[in-house]
Amino acid sequence: MKFKPQTKQKIAFILLGIAASIVIIPVILILAILIQRGLPAISWQFLTEMPRMGMRAGGIFPAIVGTLCLVFCAISVALPLGVLTAVYLVEYAKRNWWTRMIEIAIVNLAGVPSVVYGLFGLGLFVIFFQFGSSILAGALTLAIMELPVIITSSKEALMSVPRSFREASLALGVSRWQTIRHVVLPNALPGILTGAILGISRTAGETAPILFTVAAFYLPRLPKSIFDQCMALPYHLYVLSTQVPNVKPALQYGTALVLVGMVFLLNLVAIIVRARIRSKKQW
């Protein structure tokens, strides 16, 4: 069959449009199903009460608190470490076998399956460092998992700051560190925050890494320190869905909805922060 170039173009555009539209279908379906089945379970009590009757009733408060603790602790370790690594690699490091090793390590770190992180955390933090099954061990495991995402996006953010800004500053006799501190980092901040957002979204929903390192099966009280175990939403959801018989589906879907909602909220906060910084940006 022979078509005119214009017709071909139209067909191509339609196909491309369809492909792009298909992508959003799963998102809409997931949200629709979660909201339809989970929303009835959501209530103030559900969000703020301890689970009761072997998790078949009551709320998911400790799991929410646990996940928030884990996410917060993990990012407060991973963000500084990741940003410092990125600054070193972009601003200071010479191209040699050592920096290439670091870069290869980062790429590989990103490809490690999450269950392997879990076992690694178990071996290193829980057993070797004797942190036991604790928020500390879990958060550190998650932090290592977040690192590649944060390093990669921070590196890109740093590299996107024009070289000319650095030269303009250096040409005034300003030291390299001051240039980084006062010119490069402020301008790379939106990109670095994007990395943090991605890191948070990734860890908040992970089950495998916390499975062996922190997550409690059923613990109807709040953690008192970072050396305590805690419940966490993803693992709680897994338990509700597979380990506890006769749970009302609404509870399962409600938990899932809260998890998705929390990730969404965390992202939203970070996106707003980023947008505000970006609106002040002038180049």
């Binding site: 010479k94 191209r95 024009p162 000319s164 800004f165 030269e167 303009a168 500053s169 250096l170 040409a171 005034l172 006799g173 300003v174 030291s175 001051q178 006062h182 010119v183 301008n187 940006k281 002038q282 180049w283």
Partner: protein, 250 residues
């Protein structure tokens, strides 16, 4: 007059590619030296060697010596010290993404000055010296990036003046500017002669003639000729200089 900068047998290459070969010249205190030459003649490499910006390029190799006030800038001084005394204004105006005031105060602040009153004084003095004060005095808090090209370049000059250098290097400072802005930048340079030694790399031969006390002509990494502006333009000693000035190549 005293020699401010003495360059002896300076050669530079970037990863094996020669940029500058055996250059010897002296720059006098408080003169404006125009540096002309076609593309790839080594004039920018020369300029970047003077405040050690070439250090940033890891492939850059340098031999020979550059002395500022008799001190070897590569052996007896550290890079920050050199760059504070020998600052650079770039081809494209590069205001930093901050307010006009912060741009000018950037250098002094980083060098440890935090006194607000003093900073204000320095900012005003520098902007006046760069002929920008009257145009921006009512909007010092607005972004330096919102100024016009010519204003931005004068802002960069003001920022440079604020660190109280001894030598100012210009790397084709007017290449992106219209004639009127160019005239203003040149006027600023002439006024600054009272206090500063200035070196102006330019593709615009006429500009070198307008502002330079002396002019150096570079070709393919060699310093062909350096002389008083009038002599160089009227009776060049080297045939190649004559060819370039009369537009036979370049």
């Amino acid at each position: 007059m005293v020699d401010k900068i003495v360059v002896a047998d300076l050669s530079i290459d970037y990863g094996g590619v020669h940029a500058l070969r055996h250059v010897n010249l002296a720059i006098k205190d408080k003169e404006i030296l125009g540096v002309i030459g076609p593309a790839n003649s080594g004039k920018t490499s020369f300029l970047r060697a003077l405040n050690r910006l070439n250090d940033l390029d890891l492939s850059c190799r340098m031999t020979g010596s550059i002395k500022l006030n008799g001190k070897d800038i590569n052996r007896d001084m550290d890079a920050e010290e050199v760059r504070k005394k020998v600052t650079m204004v770039f081809a494209l105006p590069i205001p930093l993404p901050m307010s006009i005031f912060d741009n000018v105060a950037y250098g002094p602040r980083r060098h440890g000055l935090n006194d607000k009153k003093k900073l204000k004084e320095i900012v005003e003095k520098s902007l006046r010296a760069a002929f920008l004060w009257d145009e921006v005095k009512d909007r010092l808090d607005s972004s330096g990036m919102k100024l016009s090209g010519g204003q931005q370049q004068r802002l960069c000059i003001a920022r440079t003046l604020a660190v109280e250098p001894e030598v100012i290097l210009y790397d084709e400072p007017c290449s992106g500017l219209d004639p009127i802005s160019t005239a203003k930048v040149e006027e600023a340079m002439r006024e600054l002669k009272i206090r500063y030694t200035q070196i102006l790399v330019t593709n615009n031969v006429k500009q070198a003639a307008r502002v330079g006390d002396r002019v150096a002509f570079f070709l393919m990494g060699e310093l062909v000729e350096i002389d008083e502006t009038r002599k160089l333009f009227t009776t060049p000693r080297d045939k190649r200089t004559n060819d370039y000035l009369t537009g036979r190549f370049g």
